[in-house]
């Protein structure tokens, strides 16, 4: 009986020892692409479970980072003696939103594999889909904050209080430093680099978390320090020369630099920042991804 039903072709799977810890990459990435809907659905379902898609969920996503930015703005103004204007507020807002996206990707990425539970234990699939799904979720939670940014930008550009400059004779002109410009379009490639960087970080953190389960406990402190070391609460060009040297080691220095300069200030950052950002972004993606894949086979026996 079974002989007659054998027209169906069945895929033959061969499992061999991994060479240098890596599976066959062509097969790996083909499977990864074929099963991408898993990552998409997982991200959607997680957002549903967190009520991200409800009105108040969205509202909260927009309000909470904005409040955060206001608090920082007040803080910086108090420390500096209240001389920061709207342009600085926009820089702060843009920087903080992008930073939040990166830190959210890191913490969600770190949890992505260890919370994969029985799926990781029982199903053979490219596990890179888990941190990528976390990345997608973080991205969709980041998008609403752009609305806030647009709203404030429009307000300062068209309506808001504009600083006034007066000459010795007492004649005053209104100075508006905030206005829309085509340079802002360069924020798109800038964000792409941030996104690539975040993808690498998500995979990296997911792997580290498997080996050190207390990573997510240290993470908040590390991200906070990282925030203070990055040009968010200040402009990159305000740093002392010796600090600037150190910033060669901070990927967020050029990356947030190109993002806030283009988007919030409408000025074109130096070429070296672009190149630095690209190097950090793709370097991190490459290292994070390969580190993840080379360790991935151990995940099913370690979580």
């Amino acid at each position: 009986m079974s002989e007659t039903t054998e027209t169906v072709s069945r895929p033959v799977q061969t499992f061999l020892p991994h060479r240098a810890g890596l599976p066959r990459l062509s097969t790996y990435f083909v499977t990864l692409w074929r099963r991408r809907h898993f990552a998409i659905e997982l991200s959607r379902a997680s957002m549903r479970a967190a009520h991200t898609n409800t009105f108040f969920g969205q509202f909260w996503l927009v309000i909470s980072p904005a409040l955060n930015a206001v608090v920082y703005f007040l803080l910086v103004n108090i420390i500096r003696g209240g001389n920061s204007g709207p342009d600085f507020f926009l820089h702060l807002l843009a920087g903080l939103f992008a930073f939040n996206f990166i830190s959210a990707t890191m913490s969600a990425g770190a949890n992505s594999v260890v919370s994969g539970g029985s799926l990781v234990l029982n199903t053979a699939f490219p596990l890179l889909l888990l941190p990528w799904s976390a990345l997608r979720t973080a991205f969709f939670r980041f998008l609403p904050s752009l609305i806030i940014l647009l709203a404030f930008f429009s307000y300062f550009a068209f309506i808001g209080p504009h600083p006034v400059a007066c000459d010795a004779a007492g004649a005053c002109v209104e100075l508006n430093t905030v206005h829309f410009s085509p340079v802002q379009l360069m924020a798109i490639p800038a964000f792409m680099l941030i996104f690539v960087f975040a993808a690498g970080l998500a995979a990296l953190m997911a792997t580290v978390q498997v080996y050190f389960r207390d990573t997510t406990q240290f993470l908040p402190y590390a991200t906070r320090i990282w925030l203070y070391l990055s040009p968010v609460l200040y402009y990159a060009d305000q740093l002392q020369p010796w600090m600037l040297k150190l910033e060669y080691f901070n990927p967020l220095f050029p990356m947030l630099g190109i993002w806030t300069d283009t988007l919030a200030r409408g000025i074109m950052p130096p070429m070296s920042w672009w190149l630095g950002s690209a190097a950090w972004a793709f370097g991190t993606l490459l290292i994070g991804t390969f580190y993840f894949i080379s360790r991935e086979r151990e995940f099913a026996v370690r979580i």
Binding site: M1, S2, E3, T5, E6, R10, P11, V12, Q13, T14, F15, L16, P17, H18, P23, T31, R34, R35, H37, F38, E41, L42, A45, S46, R48, A49, S115, G116, G117, S118, L119, V120, L121, N122, T123, A124, F125, L129, Y211, F212, R213, D214, T215, F218, R297, E298, A300, V301, R302
Partner: protein, 273 residues
Amino acid sequence: MEDEMGEPIPQIAHRSVSNEVAITVADLDVTYRTTIEKRPTLKQAIVRLGRGKRSVRTVEALKDVSFQVNRGTVLGIIGHNGAGKSTLMRTVAGIVPPTRGKVEVVGRTSTLLSLGVGFNRQLTGRENVILGGLAAGLTKDELEDRYDRIAEFADIGDFIEMPMRSYSSGMAARLAFSVAVHLDPDILLIDEALSTGDAVFKEKATERMQQLVDNSSTMLLISHALRTIINMSTECIWLDHGKLMMRGNPEEVVDAYTEYMHVKKTSAVLNDM
């Protein structure tokens, strides 16, 4: 057939086994390298570094195992705790790669392993079903097609739309079984997963497994209940400390195994070991 408790013991009638090979395991070694702690932390690692202790331990879970399984076979796998049964199954499923040797599998495998069901308890039963299917390689259309059958078979009513944290373990097990058997696997791997569920569901499950066997699916079955192995499998292998001890007719292998373990072949042992 019934045991003393009056519960039916699942039994499967077998048609002729095909002469096509479904699974080839050749010279297979699997070695685990793990840390001593179940949840390793950075803190422990630093403390250990200070004391200069080794943190990695290796376990040879399978040693030089070779066998072939033809399509349509129901292969029982028996052995003591830690013999390597689950490891063998996870290697066949492609979850754990071989350390040495080769495993070749013809067709799609579907797993029903003992390590817990429903992977994300915050998500609903439906979402878990869809995600499990997508991860296993089914397309969205294929899942759309099967979803109703899966839900109906699991028979957990409106709970299917609720987060799985509200499920009883029986409900979760039924849903997992339903998913596994409705993925139309060429090879179904079942690790200690038949003991959950009530008598009615067990009967339904057995019926469905019979269908799969009739369609000449191959099955690998791990169970502590040796009676289940005798009743359901066409062949049996016995693992001991990672080595393949014996392969053959289930009754004979079970006999040899129980004798070796110096355990009397009482009914209690047979039904619930």
